[in-house]
Symmetry: C2
Subunit: 342 residues, 2 copies
DNA sequence: CCGCAAGATGTGGTCGGTCATGTCTCAAGC
DNA sequence: GCTTGAGACATGACCGACCACATCTTGCGG
């Protein structure tokens, strides 16, 4: 036996020859058209397995103008939120028979988002979901050519692009009301970085809940989602007088706050109650286990795909806006002031 | 004005007509060939921007037989390790001008890995990186047609597929030696789930370090990477006598251990020292901050792409095996037994 | 002023599928 | 027996790029 001849992969014509039919019939079998006799179909299928034929989706995409690939633009896929959202997106897309091509940005200016979308468009994606909840990203969507199926997570300025978002303000309200309900006079807030839609939604909900209860609104401490930022905010908080309740804009920062307070000898929830946002898998095991707002990222991802596919398949109707309600998980990082006093 | 005519996107021929040249010249400008006169080039470029032309990469892929897309198969992209690795992969791929198509598996049997690879191959990816460090995945790679550029993270049975991996055993040895060096008689281990290569590497390193020092090797407690599993292991450990040092196979489980010990009133590191593995961003802020083995996932991702591209561009040489050394970060969850005694 | 090589540009075929259309067979209906 | 029509299959054009090769320009030496 000589060396195996380096032959190219079999194509449809090869299968056709092998089965003694035309390439068109092979195509019909592949796309299971009704008008193929059972024995012909069997012969073709046998030829396919015999040759190990795989259809070339690139060629198919060229003529159908459908790549069956969806593009995802995201910011920092290392964070729990984006990672989970993308996971949901990928699962839903694949069960629908779509591929997912991902671009994760390290910088969040409008230009890079635009570039990313261009890049994906050039590749011929059938639609795009943008998971970059910053103003800059939201602006970048404006330059998207009309008619390109797209879905935004959190928000966009464009009225013709559907949006899936979690009700951030409501989550913040739940957190704040919970603390107020425990008897705290007011609630301090460690916010996310500027420019993020989540940051604003959570700030707004927190402020609203405070104002609705006629409580003073302390100056928020700005963080950047990292545990370190939370830690620094925690140290400042510990040094201040009269702080009894803190609402951190995410669980990682809440962890930092917890750490700082523990180092300063401040008891949680004895002296200060802490609430987070996200419900990452770790938060149930913080010291103490964290009371937090639950976000269902999975659900967000699935809805994105649903809405995107609807746009691709159907005629464009009015752009939907889907708002996913957050949940609230009470654990041991919050307590009533009565208990604290006692 | 009537409705805007629904015109298709401009193609090369349109640009050619607009610029008064042939499509071939447009192609030459696009691929910046040398033999085009400067003014012709300028005219073509002007036409391109005027028409808003974007080259159709699908058509290009059909004839060049290069999709400039890389496939990634991964298990649970929600976990910090895979997520970070994929992030590194994506960044490196994009700077090299490649797209990344991701398939994340929810079940880890060989069949699904095989399906995923098939799926990607059909789509015409130029290469595949498999980030599924389980035996099953490793086995699935065996059926990969020879000649398909591929890289495995952690391991594979195939000698012709390059591997990038972090030296798990060495990391475990570092952790164990560190604890032994602090005077602990032996070290308990909370391991990962069966079937994972990391689980085995870490078990092996831990056992080796113990045996090298002539210490007894306790029965490991099996976990599943989750904080909850760590928590349960922690409770068992707290109920046992003579436990002074615990090495958890990842940081999340270490967190669970920490939590359980704290609930049982066991002081860390006063009575028991705990070491983790991964160095997730949170671990520096655990209570107490976690001593752990640092894995450079980013670096792994980058190396994967480097090796994959080398395979795609160059002739296949011998398969490389790259072993990335782990780091070790000492924080406050470990202490010497002397201190504990005192 | 011609020849000729190098440079600039055009022509047609090709990648591997799908789609529209055409041909052929065969049974039902008059 | 002949039309008719539907089912089964084949043929050729086409998607939009790249590539090999042909052709037309140039510039320069003799």
């Amino acid at each position: 036996m000589g060396p195996i001849p380096k032959r190219r992969l079999p194509v449809m014509a090869d299968v056709a020859k092998e089965a003694g039919v035309s390439h068109q019939t092979v195509s019909r079998v592949l796309n299971d058209h009704p008008n193929v006799r059972a024995d012909t179909r069997a012969r073709v299928e046998a030829a396919i397995t015999r040759l190990g034929y795989r259809r070339n989706l690139v060629a198919r995409a060229l003529v159908t103008r459908r790549s069956r690939t969806l593009g995802v633009v995201s910011f920092d896929t290392t964070l729990y939120g984006p990672a989970s959202t993308i996971y949901g997106i990928e699962q839903a897309a694949r069960t629908a028979g779509y591929f997912v091509s991902i671009v994760s940005l390290k910088s969040i200016d409008a230009a890079s988002v635009r570039d990313a979308i261009d890049y994906l468009t050039e590749q011929g994606v059938d639609g795009v979901v943008v998971v970059a909840p910053q103003h800059s990203a939201s602006q970048a969507l404006e330059s998207l050519p009309t008619g390109t199926p797209a879905v935004a997570v959190e928000a966009t300025h464009r009225a013709d692009i559907p949006v899936v978002r979690i009700d951030q303000a409501e989550g913040a309200r739940m957190a704040t009301r919970h603390l107020l309900g425990l008897g705290h006079e007011t609630v301090w807030h460690v916010s996310g970085p500027a420019g993020w839609l989540e940051t604003e939604g959570r700030l707004q909900g927190w402020r609203e809940a405070l104002e609705a209860a006629g409580r003073p609104v302390p100056e928020p401490l700005a963080g950047d989602w990292s545990p370190r930022a939370g830690y620094e905010a925690g140290r400042s908080l510990a040094a201040m007088d009269g702080v009894t309740a803190v609402f951190a804009a995410n669980d990682q920062m809440a962890l930092g706050v917890l750490r700082a307070l523990s180092e300063e000898g401040v008891k949680v929830p004895g002296q200060i109650s802490v609430v987070g946002f996200d419900d990452i898998p770790e938060s149930a095991f913080f010291s103490p286990p964290l009371t937090t707002v639950r976000q269902d990222f999975d659900v967000v991802g699935r809805h994105c795909i649903e809405m995107l596919l609807r746009q691709i398949d159907a005629e464009p109707g009015p752009a939907e806006r889907l708002i996913v309600p957050p949940g609230f998980v009470v654990r041991s990082s919050t307590a009533s002031t009565a208990a604290a006093a006692g």
